[in-house]
Amino acid sequence: MTSLALSGGTRKSRFWPRVRIAAGLLACVIFLFPVFWMVLSSFKAQRDIFTVPPTLFFTPTLQHYFEYMQRADISRRMINTIIVAAGSGIISIVAGGMAGYALARIRLRGAGTIGVLILLSRGVPPIALAVPMFLVARSLGVTDQHITLILAYCTFLIPYVMWLMRGFFLALPKELEESAMIDGCSRMGAFFKIIVPISMPGILSTLIFSMILAWEELLFALVLTNRYASTIPVAIAGIAGDTVNGANWGALTAVGTLTVLPVVVFALLVQKWLIQGLADGATKG
């Protein structure tokens, strides 16, 4: 769908690809406008954020970034959020990826049922799960700790990862691992040495998605942590729900911007691997 039209042929055949790119860029600009507005507002004094009509010209201030860094304990919360997102993302990718593979390729009696049950566990509203999870965590004495939050996040990440990876694995030709297993490779070995490298784009995309979900999760973080494992979304909720002085929109957009940055950096880095993985996969394909 891509190669011939873009090999640079006639002028006409260069037109449509350009339109396609332009349309994609337009969509990008539209989608990013609210983000631009958020970043812009984070540099405005509060009184400049709500002017009528909205202004692009104002005296910028860095006050919000500094003021709330300490007030909302942003640095520690940022570290906590990174730990929890990375931890739960990695565990979920491994466990969920393997489970998705089982559903896609391995004939197992009952695995299908388990897979469906796992998926359906996502039907439980998280509010219903938060309180009992807290009660269990408290009786085990593990409230306000990273590992509790990581495991709690795995409960909603694994089903998603499993189902998405199943979709990716189903698209692969069956011969891939069969040839390796005939040569004496174990099933697990074939999985890690052959299937995983080829599915890298899917795996990385799913990993990004999982980490983002964990990154912004609020409910479990509120209920299961107090101060030591508290995360950024809790800080944001606190600033937004300020019923004493009124929501400080400057601070909110500043923290919001700070929250977005690490993930964007991570995604940009991972993009390189995505393309690399694609190149390998295409030649093997």
Partner: protein, 310 residues
């Protein structure tokens, strides 16, 4: 006397068929095991607890069920007009938001998948809306859509459309929720769709082009069938996520006006955390779970049929 000539492997296998069968089963199950164990360990008690308190009177002093009351909590829930209104609102939201997000997501993924230098950067940039905290997203969009302060109305005014009360009018409030949710979640679809598009095998397309197929027929007879598994998976994941949406509704419209955007999860949250009515909210959670299971089951059967067809 005839001698049996067997290879070493066959000898090994013949010697302990039971053992090798077990090892084979173990290696198969090893794939499923980690996920199943983690989830069973973490979710078993919470789910049992929720079901238990939905059938009981809840005592705040001990945060547990104290007296079995049968279907009473469920009766309360079904009697409450707010529950039915909330279900209706959720259905409307799902019916519009899901298709828009899937179509838009795959469409934009195709657009940005064009081979050019900025492709990776654009793909990374598209992730950003997903990462903006729901509260902040709701707040920013409130600013954009506000009749007084908002850019949107100023732009609409340029086209002669005046005075859109995005949060005061029930229909527009629902539209604003759908807009914000689409803005946040289409990037997810784009992310997955991009990976899927990248993984499409090139040789089939090249063969089809040589055979003279044009863009449109390639789309319908090659691309879409190959993408069906991943479209179905994305739809299911998105559907399960959309059912649980409540933070956007809370941040943008507070569930108003008059309950017009009070999706079911927001209602459950209010009953649990604001009104401290844990038994009723557990009953609602169970009802939502059952409904979700049924509908997801229908989806899965449907996608299984589609997958088999292609």
């Amino acid at each position: 006397m005839a001698t049996n000539t067997m290879t070493a492997g066959e000898v090994r296998r013949a010697r302990s068929p039971v053992r090798s069968k077990l090892m084979d089963a173990a290696s198969r199950w090893a794939f499923m095991a980690p996920a199943a164990i983690i989830l069973a360990a973490m979710l078993a008690y919470p789910i049992i607890y929720t079901v238990e308190i939905s059938f009981a009177r809840f005592d705040l002093m001990t945060f547990s069920a104290v007296e079995f009351v049968g279907w009473e909590n469920y009766a309360h829930v079904f009697d409450d007009y707010r529950f039915w209104s909330s279900m209706r609102v959720t259905l409307i939201y799902l019916a519009f938001a899901l298709p828009i997000q899937i179509v838009l997501g795959f469409g934009i993924a195709y657009l940005i998948n064009a081979l050019w230098r900025g492709r990776g950067a654009v793909r990374a940039l598209f992730i950003i809306p997903m990462v903006v905290a729901p509260v902040v997203a709701g707040g920013i969009w409130r600013m954009i859509l506000d009749p007084l302060w908002g850019i949107m109305n100023w732009v609409a005014g340029l086209f002669g459309v005046d005075g859109l009360d995005w949060f005061g009018d029930p229909t527009l409030a629902m539209a604003s929720i759908i807009i914000i949710d689409t803005w946040r979640w289409t990037p997810f679809v784009i992310l997955i769709a991009t990976a899927a598009l990248l993984a499409l095998p090139r040789d089939i397309f090249e063969a089809a082009e040589i055979d003279g197929a044009n863009w449109w027929s390639m789309l319908w007879s090659i691309t879409l069938p190959l993408l069906v598994p991943i479209i179905a998976a994305t739809f299911v994941v998105r559907w399960l996520g959309a059912v649980k949406m409540f933070d956007i509704a809370l941040a943008a419209t507070y569930g108003g006006p008059g309950g017009a955007t009070n999706v079911i999860n927001l209602f459950i949250y209010e009953e649990a955390f604001r009104s401290l009515r844990f038994a009723e909210s557990a009953a609602m959670a169970v009802i939502v779970l059952v409904l979700t299971m049924v509908l997801t089951g229908i989806f899965l059967i449907g996608t299984r049929r589609l997958e088999d067809r292609y």
